[in-house]
């Protein structure tokens, strides 16, 4: 069985993002998706601190502390890019103008609930940032994550045990094992990695799965 590494998951997500899409990539793992959008496909990246049209990292020495992304990393602006204030930026998100948002997750439930902001530990200092707005506002919310935790527990669950970021907000899940849609009647497996059987996938998933009619090996 060939599990996908982080870059391969990111490349798989990038395949689903079409020309002309407005996309917000969450902090961390999802930012890898930008590296896999094919040359020539125009995709406009949004950053919630107030930038549309984010380009690649600046060359060393070319960083500008006034031009950063939501992860506070230095970025560049593409020709056609724009700056705007925070309320406008979140109007784009909450108002349904962002086509795709890609987020990491601790857990996703069978009904598309998302938990990605808080581990629930009593002494943890909570921090939410834009996660709750992104989870609710984007037209399509895509989650990319490892299928199971380092301890082997399924991150796809019947009900999230971690505090929720949003209710019934996830549309599609990309893991190192499979691509899974959150459908009205439950979780539908769209793709599995080569050499993985549906039964094996179900064994590693703590919520019931269905095999979509057109499911195929990636």
């Amino acid at each position: 069985m060939k599990t996908l590494d982080r870059n391969q998951i990111a490349a798989r997500v990038a395949r689903d993002i079409p020309e002309g899409a407005y996309v917000n990539l969450g902090i961390g793992l999802p930012t890898l998706v930008a590296n896999h959008i094919p040359k020539g496909r125009e995709v406009i990246l949004h950053s919630e601190n107030g930038v549309l049209g984010i380009g690649p990292r600046p060359a060393p020495g070319q960083e500008d502390e006034d031009l950063i992304n939501a992860g506070k990393e230095p970025v560049t602006l593409l020709p056609g890019g724009a700056y705007f204030h925070h309320a406008d930026s979140f109007a784009m998100i909450r108002g349904g103008h962002i086509d795709f948002c890609v987020l990491g997750a601790f857990q996703v439930s069978a009904t598309g609930d998302l938990a990605n902001w808080h581990t629930g530990e009593p002494d943890a200092i909570p921090a939410v940032g834009g996660a709750m707005d992104l989870a609710l506002g984007a037209k399509k919310v895509l989650v990319m994550m490892e299928h199971v935790t380092k301890g082997g527990a399924s991150k796809i669950v019947e009900r999230c045990t971690y505090p929720l970021t949003g209710v019934a907000c996830v549309h599609r899940i990309y893991t190192d094992l499979a691509v899974i849609d959150v459908a009205p009647d439950g979780l539908r497996v769209v793709e599995m990695v080569e050499g993985l059987s549906f039964e094996d996938l179900q064994r590693q998933t703590a919520a019931p799965l269905k095999l979509a009619a057109a499911a195929k090996a990636a």
């Binding site: 950053s47 919630e48 601190n49 107030g50 930038v51 500008d64 502390e65 006034d66 031009l67 950063i68 506070k72 602006l77 700056y83 705007f84 204030h85 925070h86 309320a87 930026s89 979140f90 998100i93 909450r94 808080h118 002494d123 943890a124 200092i125 909570p126 921090a127 939410v128 940032g129 834009g130 996660a131 709750m132 707005d133 609710l136 506002g137 505090p163 929720l164 970021t165 949003g166 209710v167």
Partner: protein, 229 residues
């Protein structure tokens, strides 16, 4: 003659009282009014309620204000960061109160205050612990949470250029919270890189019209802000 330009940041902040609610612009170091924060520390006002996206980074700026124990409460979306140690320590010791607000709700509550809106319903945070105890309402096919505006006594923001009427232009993503905070405070104090003659800013490039600004101070650039942290 209208002249909102004041000679020093000390003069611009001389009247901030203890217990004031102070909005501070910036997202990380981009747009953070570092020289105004330094002046606020020097000025000595305490028991402040601070509104910012974060809770300070490293040892400078907002982190230094927290370190100086001038902050009673912070309203923000993302306090916990790798280098937010001054906030972390006081929060864990129960010495600083935290009101955690989703980032878009924070921005909209500030905007609402500046726009005279009494309250608004947002879908963000519905069904989560950040909506616990709040009024909710189903509108159409969607559930919403009632949120109230955040007003401030002072807003401290950073812009790029200003004229004597207080018209402002910003630089790149340093704009972030500046325009909405300027509208939400009774007294908005702006630090700028450059002051220009009236008419030198194109009307089209003025992002914050001077009606939202009370005081402007030109500050000398600070070398390598944040890099030392």
């Amino acid at each position: 003659m209208i002249d909102k330009i004041v000679p020093t940041q000390q003069a611009a902040l001389a009247d901030v009282p203890d217990g004031a609610t102070v909005m501070i612009g910036g997202f990380g170091n981009a747009g953070m009014p570092a020289q105004l924060i330094d002046a606020l520390i020097e000025q000595g006002a305490k028991q402040l309620t601070i509104v910012n996206n974060n809770a300070g980074n490293g040892d400078t700026g907002l982190a230094a204000l927290i370190k100086a124990r001038r902050v009673r409460k912070i309203i923000c979306s993302f306090p916990r960061q790798a280098d937010s140690w001054h906030f972390d320590g006081q929060y864990r010791a129960g010495e600083i109160e935290l009101e955690l607000v989703p980032q878009g709700t924070l921005a909209e509550r500030i905007r609402a205050a500046g726009a005279g809106i009494g309250a608004f319903y947002t879908p963000t945070a519905y069904g989560t612990r950040l909506a616990e105890g709040k009024e909710t309402r189903r509108i159409g096919a969607r559930d919403y949470v009632l949120e109230y505006p955040i007003h401030a006594d002072y807003a401290l923001i950073k812009a790029d250029r200003a004229d004597r009427w207080g018209n402002l232009s910003y630089r790149k993503s340093a704009r972030n919270f500046g325009p909405i905070m300027a509208s939400a405070a009774r007294c908005t104090v702006v630090q700028v890189r450059e002051t220009v003659e009236l008419g030198a800013l194109y009307p089209e490039e003025i992002v914050t019209p001077g009606i939202f600004v009370q005081r402007v101070v030109r500050v000398a650039p600070r070398a390598a802000l944040g890099k030392a942290a």
